[in-house]
């Protein structure tokens, strides 16, 4: 492979021409972020409007119409007890997407509080909290979440809580790092000097200013949180029958895949589409926030002179 990287146009490393001038390289427009937006917004709106868009009652059993292929009557076919799969995919989206969003909301708000306290007070509290976070991160996420959800008992809520628990350290570390750098800023030292109470400083200065990276992280996480909760449902640790949920639908459909391929295919495709959308949006926001990490030059440890 012949390469001459130095003549390549790379927005993060402008190359001087013969006269020593650097020309700005035009950044590409965020087409992929828009694709991601569409991939997320379509299933979100479809699930929200499920009661109006669904062609059938998602839990209506009809044993005479079992395992029907997709047709004008049943767009995605029917399942083993004759329930309409299109309506169930719409209805299941509320739980699958809702679980993903619930997870990041719980994990992020817990992380903001703990990370803020840890970064601001430092000392013993910080030491203990960070070691606890290390312990949580010592488990592969799915494995710890499985054990927790099994202990919490069946149900979508316990799997959401379990997944949120394993995602908390990410936010604690993120917010703590932000607070550590913010607390040295002049406006914060000024507020301290003026005698502002701690909760005021945290609430008015530190937490709002550490939010942007948290927001980016939630978008990046929403997809993987959704995948994790769907995986738990697939393994039997999530919603209880007859409620529709994408991971659980793939699980109950997998025995039919050889002859009724549509049954596990549609709910799984819905997971892939939505997760991909969240990831595309998250990637774009991350690049916007930290240009050094832009897709053409991820951040790695730079050598020090």
């Amino acid at each position: 492979m012949s390469v001459d990287v130095l003549t390549q146009r790379d927005p993060d490393y402008p190359v001087p021409d013969a006269a020593g001038r650097t020309r700005p390289v035009r950044r590409r427009r965020p087409i992929m972020a828009w694709v991601g937006f569409v991939l997320v917004i379509v299933p979100v709106i479809a699930s929200l409007l499920a009661p109006w868009l669904a062609t059938h009652d998602p839990n209506q059993v009809n044993l005479t119409r079992r395992l029907q292929p997709p047709s004008a009557e049943h767009w995605f076919g029917t399942d083993e007890v004759g329930r309409d799969l299109f309506s169930r995919v719409l209805d299941g989206g509320r739980r699958s997407i809702g679980a993903g969003i619930g997870v990041v909301l719980i994990a992020a708000s817990t992380g903001i509080v703990l990370g803020g306290l840890s970064g601001w007070f430092g000392g013993k509290l910080d030491l203990i909290l960070m070691r606890v976070m290390d312990v949580i991160l010592a488990f592969p996420a799915l494995v710890l979440a499985m054990a927790l959800a099994a202990a919490l008992g069946p149900g979508l809520m316990s799997s959401v809580l379990a997944v949120a628990f394993v995602r908390v350290p990410v936010y604690v570390r993120l917010v703590r790092a932000q607070v550590l750098s913010l607390r040295e800023r002049e406006y914060v030292t000024a507020a301290v000097a003026a005698g502002a109470p701690t909760w005021h400083i945290l609430r008015r200065h530190l937490i709002p200013n550490s939010l942007p990276p948290v927001v980016v992280q939630t978008t990046l996480d929403a997809g993987s949180a959704m995948l994790l909760t769907a995986t738990m449902s697939f393994l039997g640790l999530g919603v209880r029958a007859p409620a529709a949920e994408w991971g659980a639908m793939v699980n109950s459909g997998r025995v039919y895949l050889l002859d009724q391929w549509w049954y596990p295919t549609y709910p799984g495709a819905a997971i892939l589409m939505t997760a991909m959308g969240f990831n595309l949006i998250g990637d774009y926001w991350r690049d916007r926030l930290d240009p050094r990490r832009a897709s053409s030059a991820p951040k790695t440890t730079r050598t020090r002179p």
Partner: protein, 338 residues
Amino acid sequence: MGLGQVIARRLALMVLVLLGVTLLTFIISHAIPGDPARLLAGQRASDEVVAQIRRNYGLDQPLPVQYVRYMSGLLKGDLGRSIRTGRPVAEDLARFFPATLELVGAAMLLAVLIGVPLGVASAARNNSWVDHVSRSVSVAGVSMPLFWLGIVALAFFYGKLGWLPGSGRLSPFGLAPPTVTGLYLIDAALARDWVTWRDALVHLLLPASCLAFVHVGVVARQVRGSLLEVLHQDYIRTAQAYGVPPRRVLYRYALRNALVPTLTVVGLALGDLLAGAVVTETVFAWPGMGSYVVDSITSLDFPAIMGFTVVVAVGYSVINLLVDVITLRLDPRIRAMG
């Protein structure tokens, strides 16, 4: 700080984390709804039997005492007894471990063998079609529900084309090779039993590829990123100015340095691969630790679930420590930064 000191510090930190890991699993296993003694005794046991079990298992002792007992058991390799199989959990896990190791190892190998060249190609031709392909593979990989990918791959390669077998490690009447390592590919090769070797390989192909797919993109993006970073450093420009052939610059000068951060990513990916193995084994009926733990979840077999969790967490921590040490050996700059 010398290498020895750094390693000693990491080791001390790891011991602390492992203590925390056991404490956390202990707390979870004692937070389960219902009475563990009742669970062990079964639904129809009399109250006397339950009380007897409670005494035998030390469940009537205060929690700190129970934790110390649990810890001393762990140190002796005692993970408790599985409710479902009636055997010690450690024995069960040891029996299923080789299958999981074979699957995860094969997937890791595939992810690196495909991911590294893909990353090199997309860094060398930044923003070319190769780069776009690797970017798409990466986004698809992190967004892919692994359990669904396995099912769709099964439907296609087994159901529709009939090219690959559907489940298990060997064909229904295939005999396992004489056990040396427990890895069928290696054992069969050692026994020069090429029929079994081929059978094991075709059974491994699909599950390992599905598991690898999720990680190929991650590896490729990391290689690409660190390679681009390295390629813009002065020593590369100097090498180019001296007329060193571009191939040599790329592979001998740049890639070596770029692979150091990649190693860390690969180490972290092992945890995900282990977790992914739980899902893959379920889909492909692969008789490993993952299928074992999923069956344990279905029957609320807590000793088995917690035993698996502890073993995986400890293994994962040790692997990451090893990766850290190797990284330190490879790159003195990191050592200097402490």
